[in-house]
């Protein structure tokens, strides 16, 4: 497979995941805001923005800024995903192209600042539904070969980074060791965290609706069966990288080692140790993801010609 094609498939998938994540987090917080006492709202939006990866320093009335930032991130990510798909239109199935193209045009229509302010949930649900649909279509219409593996790798590396960052910023704000949520409002914030990862229902199935911060952390970081947990994502990422490695016979142990190290830290670190320094643990995951991303580029996409000739 041409490196350029792999690159486009990888980024198509990353951008779509980013749009989906941003839309869902925005939807959750817009919802929480509705039933909150306005005095406590001041801290929400800086936190949400930080959890979405923005470095912007907010001043004054943060809500409009946060809203504009999220809208921009959703719409531009969809645009970028579609542009990447367009570059490799011959490599993906026409059903995939049609869905991502449809989402693009719909997001242009309902993603204007006016309509987003008036009806934000239209865009939120359009994006999350379309992203789910797109991955369903991908799984059932595309050859599960190398290209499909790059799509999976892009999707899960993006998801792992977002989830890790989201958990980190939430725990910094609301977690006090050993204490349970003190107020109804705080309780709702913990539900909000789970909802941001589509995890509320799944959590209840495992632990019942009894919300305890350590359990939430355990579930979102370490659950092996839940598709939005960090561990699940890391394992799928590792499988896809291994499959690509097999398909290309590059025998790169660099990526395998990085992915293995990441998986091991999630499989073998005791929860108490994680909770004693959650921030560092989350940063470590994101750092390794960054190295894996760079490794994918070095091994498969923008490798120096001289190195490849020597091999």
């Amino acid at each position: 497979m041409l490196s350029r094609v792999a690159d486009s498939l990888y980024w198509m998938s990353r951008y779509l995941e980013r749009a989906e994540h941003t839309a869902r987090v925005m939807g959750v917080h817009l919802n929480l805001m509705l039933e909150h006492d306005l005095g406590s709202e001041g801290r929400r939006w800086p936190r949400v923005l930080a959890s979405l990866g923005s470095r912007e320093k907010l001043q004054g009335d943060e809500f409009p800024t946060a809203q504009a930032y999220a809208l921009d991130q959703i719409v531009s990510s969809i645009g970028a995903a579609r542009e990447n798909a367009r570059q490799v239109r011959e490599q993906i199935s026409s059903e995939m192209w049609e869905e991502i193209n449809r989402l693009f045009h719909e997001s242009k229509r309902i993603g204007t600042p006016q309509s987003f302010r008036a009806q934000p949930f239209d865009l939120v649900s359009a994006v999350t539904q379309s992203s789910h649909l797109f991955h369903g279509i991908t799984d059932s219409t595309m050859l599960h070969g190398e290209g499909w593996q790059f799509i999976q790798a892009g999707r899960f590396i993006e998801r792992v980074q977002h989830t890790a960052r989201l958990i980190d910023s939430h725990f910094q704000e609301f977690y006090r060791a050993g204490a349970e949520p003190s107020s109804a409002a705080e309780h709702m914030e913990w539900i909000g965290l789970l909802r941001s990862c589509t995890a509320f229902e799944a959590y209840c199935k495992v632990y019942t609706a009894d919300l305890r911060p350590e359990r939430v952390a355990e579930f979102l970081l370490l659950n092996a069966e839940f598709p939005h947990s960090v561990r699940f994502g890391v394992e799928r990422l590792g499988q896809s990288l291994e499959a690509v490695n097999q398909a290309t016979t590059r025998k790169s142990d660099r990526l395998g080692k990085l992915a293995g190290r990441l998986a091991a830290s999630l499989s073998y670190t005791p929860l108490e140790e994680i909770m004693s320094n959650l921030h560092e643990f989350s940063a470590g995951i994101r750092r390794l993801c960054g190295q894996i991303h760079a490794g994918i580029y070095q091994v498969y996409i923008s490798y120096p010609i001289e190195a490849a000739l020597g091999a």
């Binding site: 497979m1 041409l2 490196s3 792999a6 570059q87 290309t248 590059r250 996409i301 001289e306 000739l309």
Partner: protein, 486 residues
Amino acid sequence: MTPAFDTSQQVRFHDYWLDGAFDEMFEAESVPRPHYRALYEMLQEMPLAEMRRRKQSADVSFLHQGITFTVYGREEGTERIFPHDLLPRIITSAEWETIERGLAQRITALNLFLRDIYSDGRCLADGVVPREIVYSCKHFRREMRGITVPKNIYVTVVGTDLIRLPDGRFVVLEDNLRVPSGVSYMLTSRQVMKRIFPELFRKAGVRSIDHYSEALLATLRALAPEGRPDPNIVLLTPGVYNSAYFEHAFLARQMGIELVEGRDLAVHDNLVYMRTTAGLRRVDVIYRRVDDDYIDPLAFRADSTLGVAGLFNAYRAGNVTLANALGTGVADDKALYAYVPKIIKYFLGEDPVLDNVETFLCSQPAERQHVLEHLDQYVVKAVGESGGYGMLIGPYSTAGEREEFRRRIQADPRNYIAQPTLQLSRAPCFLDGSVEPRHVDLRPYVLYGDKITIVPGGLTRVALRKGSLVVNSSQGGGSKDTWVLY
């Protein structure tokens, strides 16, 4: 029971008229030529509603396959569906035999001419073609002097534009020897037509064109550098924003070869590689759909980002084949065109099977004078342009446009030629419920590897605007399926 549609409503012919132009379908009023009889009878019998249904079904099918082209100079990346007319253009086997013989002769001669001007230059020394015509052509590539190309084949893929004069003869209007396009429309339109008119195909006896992609692949393989028995063949496209990107992707898929862009390729030690996830893979033959100017920023335009740095050196070293070769544009220059009959005579010792259109070279003072005095009667063309850009159609021009061209011709006479306004032949088109005649041309595709292959068919382009003589897709033209009969 009422019928689903009103069967009394038939396809109308009452807007059909005959005039000085050759009519492909009718010999005389309501008398179809023998090879059009099956089509004529079908049109007589078929209810209008059914024709409309089939037209719609064909259009939907083009839309879904994404058969589009891009119009330049408008909003960035404006993709349009290629307009398609439902009625086939039909050619008898006798007519085709002449076309085939004429094209093979012409291409053989032009290829010998290219080889000659890039090596010994005999035909220049013998005065067959004036040196200044060759050396002043902007598509002449001095860099190609002395380079041996595989099997001495310069023009691998050719699309020659033919038109039919009022007396029924086919003549050559233009040779396209650089990167001719349109063949994907020929292939996809045939697939659609077979679904729309299966009964007509059975009755008429139409020769197949489906082997084009296979023939193209075999032709490219035959030109691989020596010592590369299992060559890696790729198609080089300028990318998704190019007007013919659909065609590039289509052909690559049909042939099962990789569709690459300049940034996918790299040159090292005069070998060309493509960058894959499994490492670098050597490339042996490049069917390039990128113009000469853009193919290598080190050798040609330095600002090109579409090409591959170092490609020309690898080519010169004989490590990679480019099809078509570089510098072939000198032989489809519109001023050189006037000399093609002489070139055929000189290299092959034969008279041309297919004639040229009478052409005046504005670089010749006497001819220029004649053209300037009769601008309202001639079609004036810029020699290096294609796609219907840079043209003046005398009889339909305004005084202002003529003045503009007068100025341009005087400023740069070498850049202009003039031809009489030709009555292109006309073929029936199904337009909004009735059948009307429209002007057409014909572009068959020639492949030249270890032998010449011409698939029986081609792209019939049609000027869909009433009375228009311009068939280019960028100027409101459409296409028809072209049937060559057994």
